[in-house]
């Protein structure tokens, strides 16, 4: 009985706290800044009094952590802001924290997350929950390094994140492209597949020498998306996948993705481990690298424009690894961003930090340290800046920039990603006997709840 009462009181507390308190001073600062009434000097001055910025980011990469500690922290200290890098194992943890704190009534100036490195579904979640600071990204001084003009098709990656309009509520930070690498010591470069059909025939001859990361991990989702684009029954590739689920409709989506998923189902018996019973999918990026390095698979696909060069230099890729053009015309490209949540405790310091991150200087050191491609747009930069970026780049191995540019495809709309992911889990992992149209309809219905 006592337990029940306590539980009820806990619940009552949670329910009554729906009204969100805000630090009035911080709220006035936000409104002034977003309306363009606050000068950058004022922002910097306020940032110094705030003193700290809590940046939440995926901490699974040592080069990024080292760059944060050795370059970003000292540079921000010069601006009077102490960087508190919070390394998390999954970006979703930061999203959960923001939503939980907002749920318990902590508004601007009172939360604990100042900025998050994210993209895709995580951004879509924050946007859907109204948990973003506002349209700041085109208002900081270094926003001139980024293309905001919607008339320029090249601005698409800055204005839409997995098909979701960014509303300038996140700052482009890095660009990425989905690139597959082959181990040329095991697989003759001339035999490297460039289409999904060639991949299948390669695997029929060499069973088990490929696997991809398991959805719902985004690296796996992206492989599934590429397969879906390539098998689009209309031959229009990525085009129909730029709309949201309410625009496409469940029936049409099912028709569009059926050939791609049937291909993946047919591919499963040729994947790693399938010969001894159970196809094994890599759990994450690290697991995939391990399989590739160890020669268990000959082809590895993940996000990483410069992944081969950085992987070779730090020993996480096998000798002889080279990037390939695969799948032709459907190498998905996207950007990742820095977003400021609605309840950031130090909004001004967070603005100073995102502004610093989009400077050419920071982009050059980031590229040099981590091999993460720049998020700024080269055509907006001076020649000297472009040269500095080119010089810092680890370089492409096996493919040229022209190859990559010629085979680029945009990401799938975030609302479709959820459905395609749920369909993969049901149709391929659980071997559901239902048709794809039934599974898609059910997934759409579940997600609409």
């Amino acid at each position: 009985m006592k337990k029940l009462l306590m539980g009820l009181s806990v619940t009552a507390c949670l329910m009554t706290n729906t009204a969100i308190a805000e630090d009035a001073d911080a709220a006035a600062f936000r409104d002034g800044f977003l309306a363009g009434n606050v000068t950058w000097e004022d922002v910097q001055a306020r940032a110094k009094t705030e003193g700290t910025v809590n940046l939440y980011y995926w901490g699974g990469s040592d080069p990024i952590n080292i760059w944060m500690d050795q370059i970003v922290a000292p540079d921000l200290a010069k601006l009077g802001v102490t960087l508190n890098p919070v390394r998390i194992t999954g970006t979703k943890d930061a999203i959960d924290l923001v939503l939980a704190e907002m749920g318990s009534g902590k508004g601007l100036g009172e939360g604990s997350v100042d900025a998050i490195w994210l993209n895709g579904e995580n951004f879509a979640t924050l946007k859907r929950q109204n948990a973003l600071f506002g349209a700041f990204a085109d208002k900081v001084p270094n926003s001139g390094n980024i293309e905001w003009n919607a008339d320029d098709p090249r601005a698409l990656l800055n204005l839409r994140d997995f098909g979701v309009e960014t509303g300038n509520a996140e700052m482009p930070w890095s660009g990425e492209q989905y690139v597959c690498a082959v181990n040329t010591n095991r697989l003759d470069r001339a035999n490297a597949p460039s289409t999904f059909a060639e991949l299948q025939s390669y695997l029929e001859a060499n069973p088990g020498k490929f696997t991809y990361v398991k959805p719902p991990h985004y690296i796996g989702n992206t492989f599934v998306q590429a397969a879906v684009y390539a098998h689009n029954p209309d031959g229009t590739g990525a085009e129909p996948f730029q709309q949201s689920i309410s625009e496409v409709g469940a029936e049409e989506l099912a028709r569009l993705i059926t050939p791609g998923l049937e291909y993946l189902e047919a591919l499963e018996p040729h994947l790693l481990g399938a010969q001894s019973g159970n196809a094994r999918y890599a759990e994450d990026n690290g697991a995939l690298d391990g399989l590739f390095l160890n020669g268990e698979i000959d082809i590895a696909c993940k996000f990483g424009l410069y992944a081969v060069a950085t992987g070779l230099s730090n020993g996480t890729y096998p000798e002889g690894a080279e990037a390939i053009v695969f799948p032709e015309g459907n190498m998905i490209k996207n950007k990742n961003y820095l977003a400021i949540p609605a309840n950031a405790p130090n909004p001004a310091a967070s603005l100073v930090m995102t502004n610093y991150m989009s400077s050419v200087e920071a982009q050059v050191t980031k590229l040099k340290f981590t091999g993460m491609p720049p998020g700024v747009d080269p055509w907006k930069l001076s020649e000297a800046d472009v040269a500095a970026l080119t010089e810092a780049s680890p370089g492409l191995i096996g493919v040229t920039q022209a190859d990559l540019d010629a085979n680029t495809a945009p990401d799938t709309n975030a609302t479709l990603v959820d459905v395609i992911e749920a369909t993969w889990l049901e149709y391929i992992e659980r071997d559901s006997s239902d048709g794809i149209d039934v599974i898609v309809a059910r997934a759409v219905e579940n997600l609409a709840q």
Binding site: K3, K214, G277, E296
Partner: protein
């Protein structure tokens, strides 16, 4: 006349008070932290999560969806298989080791330290050791490939990441055998060897001594240690996650997948999994305990 009685009563009351003071900290932690979390978990699994904009309480649809799916029962079978097999193996090895340890043999004092080593090493380290040694990218497979026994490391017979769960069972047994041994050894030291010697003098053979004298004596140790390790094995996440064979996963891994999905409303489905694990584990542990109590009463122990 009444004075001694009053002081007696006062002392009694004081002792009572003191007892509650002693009980309070643990009681508070249990009811607030554990009880509160448990109630919240049950409520969430029944559709109560207004902070995600979901509130259909009370709503059994999460349990219906879960239990109506064949994959849940596969996951449950797998979870029980890993938990039971590892518990039984650890128990048998633990008893044998404890019986050996009460005898005298050269190097006993060193051995008594050695066998406890896994107790001090965390599970994750044990899992890492399994990956490093037994995996297809591990030492043994690489050395075999290096000396030419197999063409490349992927041809090494797969020990980890299969649904037989050799890796998971190996880690649990490695870690839990010393724990069982420690418990049973302590019981054995307590009862002494006199009863065994008496049975031997009366003409019992080794088998009879073990089953009719030693086993009933160490039974309390067996029950308490297996209860603890079984409860751990059924709810453990990291070993099946890292060493398991993928879909179908064990129930804790299934719950984690729901919690880790970018679609946060799936957390309610995850809570239904967590609550199911709790219910199943409690039913099994409670029946085990009840069965043992009945046995104890039958042999006249209380």
């Amino acid at each position: 006349m009444s004075t001694p009685k009053t002081t007696e009563l006062a002392r009694h009351r004081k002792e009572r008070m003191w007892m509650w003071v002693q009980l309070m900290p643990v009681l508070a932690v249990l009811s607030v932290l554990f009880g509160g979390a448990l109630i919240l978990a049950v409520m969430q699994s029944l559709g109560f999560a207004p902070w995600f904009g979901v509130n259909t309480f009370p709503d059994l649809s999460y349990f219906n969806a879960l239990w109506g799916n064949w994959s849940f029962w596969q996951s449950l079978a797998l979870t029980l298989y890993y938990a039971i097999v590892s518990t039984v193996i650890a128990l048998v090895m633990g008893i044998l080791l404890a019986l050996a340890l009460i005898r005298m043999f050269p190097g006993k004092s060193l051995y008594k330290y050695l066998y406890k080593l896994p107790l001090m090493i965390p599970y994750t380290v044990g899992i890492a050791l399994a990956v490093i040694m037994l995996g297809n990218g591990g030492m043994i497979s690489r050395i075999s490939a290096f000396v030419g026994l197999i063409g490349d490391p992927s041809e090494f017979p797969q020990i980890l990441k299969t649904h037989y769960g050799w890796g998971i069972i190996a880690v649990y047994v490695w870690k839990q055998t010393p724990f069982v041994t420690l418990t049973i050894y302590a019981v054995l030291l307590g009862v002494g060897r006199e009863t065994e010697e008496a049975a031997a003098i009366l003409g019992a053979n080794k088998r009879q001594i073990f089953f009719q004298v030693t086993l009933p004596q160490i039974l309390p140790g067996i029950v308490s240690s297996t209860l603890i390790i079984f409860a751990f094995n059924i709810g453990a996440f990291e070993a099946p996650f890292i060493l398991g064979g993928g879909f179908p996963d064990t129930l804790p891994v299934v719950a984690w997948r729901y919690f880790n999905d970018a679609d946060y409303t799936l957390q309610l489905q995850g809570m239904a999994v967590v609550v199911s694990i709790a219910v199943i584990a409690s039913v099994i542990l409670y029946s085990y305990l009840a069965f043992y109590r009945r046995y104890e009463r039958r042999i006249g122990r209380n």
